[in-house]
Symmetry: C2
Subunit: 325 residues, 2 copies
């Protein structure tokens, strides 16, 4: 018996979102590596959202959310809080759509992401690195400017936009057995699960999460939302707690959440850098780490992994090249 | 009046080589970056040979050379000397064609390249890091094993194979005004110049070379081959002297050799890593450095750059992540 699903996002909305955002996003390539496949014992297709505009999938959801705000006559000012990629995405989409973006960022956000937001014309307010400070600052700007809040993940329009990445992957690589994405707030995971449900054939979807920020794992197991306190992981894009809308979709559509250690994440990240010759963030490497940790689960399967972003601070590398760099 | 050219490689040979090597190589993607274009004042199309098998264009020439040796009944043993990418290419092609590869490598070759050759079944002999030692060791193996020497660049078959990269680029991006490649031994530059001559329409070809290994620049200017002594540059793939066959083609077909400093190379390499989100070797970044150094020369042009390889030692980066890495 098929279970009765309650899905607040219809296939037609994903179709519409994808068509509307297409002029503003890249259709990113799919890469694979013979040597990674040999190591993993399965066939992995990497959807390279690190090549997306602003270097992350966040461009998809933010663009759709802003298009909806504009279409609904809600004005031209938007505000958000984000440690990085969502911030750049909102700034970039606002510029493309002739809107104004106010961005609240934790003062600990990676330099490359702060500079990215600045270069895109986003108006930055720095705050303490916790959710409370971020939300308070955002509310102040909202009140002062009359700006509309664009949530980083807990929003149906944002989730609908994120679904387009897995939709493209499924179209390019037919008959995937499994899709894995990292899970932080859950926008990419919920969107990918929706895309798999609507567009693929019996394709299971897994979330991959760092042990040091395992709220999705614990929430999924408990069947109720458990917020993340004091996250501690190298995967700096996955520190936030799962969103409410995201969790409801994930509970219905996702097979399981797989945990990985930071050491496993760094190892997987290095594999991606060395074998695929591409730059990805630590957060990106969590799904590959999960596959390598659970080889029997994925043996001989056709696997899709969404590489979420590539905005990593390269100072570490290039300071070694001083005085040249 | 058109000058009378003496080209020892015909269009039909490039056609044949490309058709024969296709099953053994990748048709690599072409990437571009809005922000790099804005910075450079022109439109740059990067042909990503860092995504080529073994991570470098060298796979093309080595595969064609080995196919020819096999087709001509010269046996199944080959030998070469190389600081890295050519070595991996010969090892990989030998394995694919059921041949045996002996590789002489300088003991200073980057670890990642040595490991690559080993993993591909190449039989390594280490030697002192100079051309004399490399050639002596190679000759010994040639005599002992009856192996055929596959030169890294100074060879018409190798040059013919390398031409296929620019051929693909020209087909994918019509109406290029200029193509730039790095120049070490000159295989990629000579091959690309041939491809531009046969397949493009008025497309100029430039070589880009580090100041610390500027033999191509000096040779081109003098009109005679001047060998490179004591090269000193971060671009470790470009240390060798220009080959004789290569030089003859370059003199006839190439517009100019442009020099860049190591600092400019590292800056360009960082741009490629950060903006294109891909891993390239320092040698790869020399053409972009040359474009950025000579902006008026390329203003508003449509430029093709061949990114030659991505086999860079990542220990520098990941040792910063200890104890995780």
């Amino acid at each position: 018996m098929q279970k009765q699903l309650k899905l607040p996002i219809h296939k037609s909305s994903i179709e519409e979102a994808h068509a509307l955002i297409k002029p503003f996003i890249e259709q990113t390539p799919v890469l694979k590596s013979t040597s990674i496949n040999a190591l993993a014992g399965c066939e992995i297709y990497f959807k390279c959202e690190n090549f997306q505009k602003i270097g992350a999938f966040k461009m998809r959801g933010a663009t759709y959310a802003l298009l909806q705000i504009k279409a609904n006559g809600k004005g031209k000012k938007v505000v958000t809080h984000s440690s990085g990629n969502h911030a750049q995405a909102v700034a970039k989409a606002a510029r493309a759509l002739d809107m104004e973006a106010f961005i609240v960022m934790p003062r600990t956000a990676p330099k490359i992401k702060v500079e990215g937001v600045k270069a895109l014309g986003g108006k930055i307010t720095f705050c303490e690195p916790n959710l409370k400070a971020r939300e308070e600052n955002m509310q102040q700007i909202k009140a002062r400017e009359g700006a509309i809040f664009v949530p980083p993940y807990d929003d149906l329009d944002v989730i609908t936009g994120q679904a387009s990445a897995a939709k493209e992957l499924i179209k390019e690589v037919p008959n995937l057995n499994t899709i894995l994405t990292p899970v932080g707030g859950g926008g990419l995971l919920a969107g990918s699960a929706l895309a798999a449900y609507y567009y693929a054939n019996n394709c299971k979807v897994f979330g991959a999460e760092p042990e040091g920020a395992d709220d999705a794992y614990r929430s999924f197991k408990a069947g109720e939302l458990i917020p993340q306190n004091n996250p501690n992981t190298i995967a700096d894009g996955l520190l936030t707690s799962l969103g409410d809308n995201n969790f409801k979709l994930i509970l219905q559509l996702v097979e399981a959440i797989l945990l990985t250690s930071d050491q496993e994440i760094v190892k997987a990240m290095r594999l991606i850098w060395e074998r695929l010759k591409i730059i990805v963030e630590p957060s990106c490497a969590v799904p590959l780490a999960a596959v390598l940790k659970n080889k029997p689960l994925f043996k001989d399967q056709k696997i899709g992994i969404i590489l979420s972003g590539g905005n990593v601070d390269l100072d570490h590398y290039f300071e070694k090249m001083r005085p040249l760099s």
